[in-house]
Homo-oligomer: 199 residues x 2
C-alpha cells in the first residue's frame, strides 16, 4: 500500500513538472515578437570589454546578415572592410572625431559603396549597416554606426590608413565588441510624425 | 500488484513525455537564429492578396519598428505618410514608373525626411525603412522599397497627390500587403567583397 502511495506521489510530481514546462512554453514569445523586440532593443554601444574578441563565426554571421540587404535594381554596390589590427583601429580612433571608442573595440566593420555601380550606393549600404547592427544586437554584441560619408575629412582619414580604390567610398565605421556596462535603447516613438493620407 | 504495475507504467509514460518535451526544446532555434533567419528571409514582395487589409495593430507594429531606427546625432529627421485610400494608391501606381503593384496593395508607407533637421536625412530614413521591411517579414506581410529619392520626377508625382511641406522629401514608397504566391529571397553573399585590414 505504501508503494502505491509512493508511486502515486511520483506520478503527480511528474505531471506537475510537465504542466509547468508547458506553462513555460505558453508564455514563450512568438518569432515575430522576438524579431520586433530585437529591433526595439538595438542600441548604440560605445564601450566594450577590453580584449574580448568577436569570433570568426560571429563576424561571419554579421557579414552575411549585412549582404542580405535589399538593393536598388539589385546592383549590390557594397564592399566591406573588416579591421582587427590594433594599430589601424587606434589610428582610426585618433583621426575620427567621434571614433574614440575604437581604442576599446576588438574590431570594426567599414561599410563602403562602389560609386560606379550605383548612384545611390549610400542607401543600399545603409541597409547593409542596419542589418549588421541588428545582427550584432541579436548575438549579444555591441556596435554603433559612426559616420564617415558625407564628411570629406573623415573619409580622408580612412583613406589615409587603407588604400581604398578612388571609386569606393566608406559610409561608416562600425566598431563591434562585447558590451561593457549597461546600455539602453532610446525611446523614439512619436505619433505626431505619422500622417494619414494627407499632411 | 496490478495497480503497482499500472502506476509504474503511467510514471514511465509521463517521464517519457517530459523527456520528449525537453528534447523538442533542444532543437528550437535560439532567439539569435530566429532574428538572423528573418534578416535572410526578407524579400521584395510585389504581389498581394486583393482586398486583404493590413490591420491597425500590424500597421502600428510596422511604424514603431521603423521609429526604433538609429539616427545620426539623434536628430530623428523622419516623417511617415500612411496611405490606404484606394484613389491615392491607384494614382501613385499610375504615376510612379515602378509602382504598378500599388494597385493591388491595401496600403503603402511613404518614409519621408525633414531636410532642415538633418543634411543626411536619407541615411536615417533608410534605416527606418529597413526596420519596416524586416518587421513586415516577421509578421508574414509582404513589402518592397520602391524608390522616390533621388529621382526628382518621382518625388514630384508624390507631391502632386499629397501636400507634403517643401522641406520634407519622400525617400520611398513601401506598399504593404499579404503576399500572394511564393516569393524567395535573393542569395547575395559574395566573399570577394570582404577586405581584411587592407584592400
Amino acid at each position: 500500500m505504501n508503494k502505491i502511495i509512493g508511486l502515486l506521489f511520483i506520478s503527480l510530481a511528474l505531471l506537475t513538472a510537465c504542466k509547468q514546462d508547458k506553462k513555460g512554453e505558453g508564455i514563450t514569445p512568438s518569432k515575430a515578437e522576438i524579431i520586433l523586440e530585437n529591433i526595439h532593443n538595438r542600441k548604440s554601444v560605445r564601450d566594450y570589454i577590453p580584449g574580448k574578441a568577436v569570433t570568426d563565426e560571429e563576424l561571419d554571421k554579421l557579414l552575411k546578415a549585412g549582404m542580405a540587404a535589399p538593393s536598388g535594381q539589385n546592383k549590390q554596390p557594397w564592399e566591406i572592410l573588416v579591421i582587427n589590427e590594433r594599430e589601424i583601429l587606434d589610428k582610426l580612433a585618433e583621426g575620427l572625431p567621434y571614433g574614440k571608442m575604437l581604442t576599446k573595440a576588438p574590431m570594426a566593420i567599414i561599410v563602403c559603396g562602389d560609386t560606379i555601380k550605383s548612384n545611390y550606393w549610400y542607401l543600399d549600404c545603409s541597409l547593409v549597416s542596419q542589418n549588421i547592427l541588428l545582427a550584432a544586437e541579436a548575438m549579444g554584441l555591441g556596435a554603433v554606426w559612426t559616420a564617415a560619408y558625407p564628411y570629406e575629412d573623415r573619409i580622408a582619414v580612412i583613406r589615409s590608413l587603407i588604400d581604398i580604390p578612388a571609386h569606393v567610398t566608406p559610409l561608416n565605421v562600425i566598431p563591434v565588441g562585447h558590451p561593457k556596462g549597461e546600455h539602453q535603447p532610446k525611446e523614439k516613438w512619436d505619433d505626431t510624425k505619422i500622417h494619414r493620407n494627407k499632411w
